[in-house]
Amino acid sequence: MSVRASDYPPPFSANDYVGEPTDPVDERIDVGVLIVGGGPAGLACAIRLGQLIAEHPEAAERFGDVPVALVEKGKQPGSHLLSGAVVNPRALRRLGYRMEDLPSYGEVHGEAVYVLTRRNALRIPPPPTMRNHGNWVFSVSRLGRWLAERAEEGGATILPETAAEKLLVSHGRVVGIRTGDKGRGRDGEPLANFEPGSDIVAKVTVLAEGTQGHLTGVALDHFGLRGDEPQVWELGVKEVWKVPRPLKSIVHTMGWPLRTAAKYREFGGSFVYPMGDDTLTIGMVVGLDYRDAELSVHDVLQELKTHPKIRKMLEGGERIAWGAKTIPSGGWNSLPTKLYAPGLLMCGDGVGLVSIPTLKGVHYAIESGRLAAESAFASLQRGATPAVSLAEYDDAIRSGFIGKDLYEVRDMRQVFGRGFFVGGALASAMTISKGRVAPGRMHAEPDAEQPLLESNRASGYPGPDGTLTFDKLSSVFLSGNKTRDDQPNHIRIERRVPREVAEMWINLCPAQVYELGTEGGDGTVTVQVAPSNCVQCGAITAKGGRLTPPEGGSGPEYTVT
């Protein structure tokens, strides 16, 4: 009988995170538009709102004393941002920026795609979806810091180290969020520095939480907005290296160390992007619909670096950063039925605005944040019907370039469930026909429902040598993560599970959060959790657990990822 993680659901109920405001009315923090999440989507929303309020000073008073507030769970905007990232400039330009003024690593000039085997690399022409001419290389963490400064200049109030814990809903309408408590001990007891959370009430709430957004998930369940197809994810693990020789073009690889046979369902690839003359970033992205309990994306990345072609790029260099994050990959078919609810708009990666075939999402996040700002602003105008204005946001996303792009590649990710070569051929047909040739609607299963298998995969991972290859704990250290240990566990999992599930979680997690506990004697084991290692990548939510936000300010402190 096959074992599935989804048969051991976490103790988590979305309704525990929905409630009426509880603070006395005069103690609530009252804002105009509240944005949850300081990533590209949330910051673009804050920036556009600032622009609109400046253009229409007569409308400003409707927003109150704090017209735009943004809460960010990381130490500062950018702390939890990680991406490739080769960014399509379209959305940044629409927001009013010239690419030359942004903190980028320049325009893409050349690109190469390789299919790897253990020792060789076959260069192939870039598939049409992977052509990046005219796109720009960014560290999205650095871009986030820059956008946050612009947002503050435009009048937004940014509240870092603040977790959005609960969705405040009153009479069926979202009225804000409640922030997480700080200073609780391991068993939830208040410590000497205990600070309770606060109700932040807003006329419009914009959730821009990024991948596996906590309240986005809660809102989709509470308002019944999940799409026809389940959302699925990939996990990306990346490193930044100082290197002696510059890398000239962006590089993508497919194939090894992933296995091509359909039964393993190992879909993914790697990227290597130059960041100026002496730095590059290298990452591995793997679909979380894989089946092998021993698959570890962190270790597959370590394995990739031992390939002669890749090793040469890194030789004599030094690893300076590391991080991990999930990417929603369901695309068009997995979009929520609506991207809004009364009083609420949802943006970016949180609702899955990502195109996996083109490896793009940052510009969709920015564009969705901009469009959310337009709708939120319109809904607060004299004579506006808020419900109509918010619904217009949904139309704007689906009928604009985001919807058009995602529709064209809508079934492409799913076909790779048929293995690398069949999937590749089908994907090419879809691309050339701009989505008109499709093998019928492709169904996806939730990542946690994949039956697990074991094939001794871990025996192939290289051991850490401290120069080219590294273990998980030293990598977590490099992420800047120094989360307080004596806070309540923020990770919900079933603690007693079959051994296969425990091993899958242990290997899955790039930050070594899970360890094998004791044997139950009946084929089950307990799982030990070290929550303070967590870099909040979200993989556990895809694979049968549930990540909730830890105390604000916890987690990694990314700067160049």
Partner: protein
Amino acid sequence: MSVLVFVEHHDGAPQKGSLGVLAKAASLGDADAVLVGSGVSSIDLGKYGAKTVHVADDAALEAPLPQPRVDVIAKLAPNYDAVFFANSVLAADVAAGLAARLDAGLNWDLVDVTADFVGKRPALQDTVLVDVGWTSTPRLALFRSGSFDAQETGGTANVQPVDIALEDFSTEARMVEQAHAEASGPSIEDADVIVAGGRGLGSPENFSLAEELARALGGAVGATRAVVDAGWYPYSAQIGQTGKTVSPKLYVALGISGAIQHKVGMQSSNVIVAINKDPNAPIFEFSDLGVVGDVHEIVPKLTELVNQRKH
């Protein structure tokens, strides 16, 4: 150069960390000390290197509150190039209050300083030392605990009583209660010897191995995050990035692999001894003495030998 050192005391005895900072100051030039409290006149700091000791001895100064101490030191500080503190809860409060009162610059978490006032501060999780300086006088410096050892020089100090004039606002705060954590043996911040246990001990019961060796050596017991997470030992004993940072004279690591998160909390120990059955454990890369073997066999014998030597 002239330096004033704030010497903290408990139960009539000067605190070890303060004496270490005093020794450091004396090695750089003229070092004076300031003692604030009730019944502190009898504390002899001359033998630890102080030239002049300013003594503010008054019943009103008995409670270890920061603002009255700021009042005393603010009058003395302008006569000095620098005022040094050994880090503690009280010293950090006093240093911060003094910085605000005098509009003076404070560098904290220093581990060393040169005679021309260049401070050394660990940064980026203690992976590098950065040079820090001051742009005005008096320079205020707060040193990490365990940075310097006390030195007995056998000198005598000129004792100067200080006129005590407390600001109104300084007497607003009152000490309501003082509580002490009950502990047998020294605390891990103060201990000269720490015996720390990791997952390799195998079970919570086996922590008695670490406790017995620590007792024999007159030291304290530390623990890694992994065992604290597993509930084997209390968080107060956790050493590492997210626990305590220690620098004892001797650090004995039992069954500890030496992940970097642990290393940054103990790497400045004088002598590191590791016992671990895995010869590839990273801890051997930064141990002075490494023993590849089973802690359950070695530690009881080691404890027995230490006990024999003592008698």
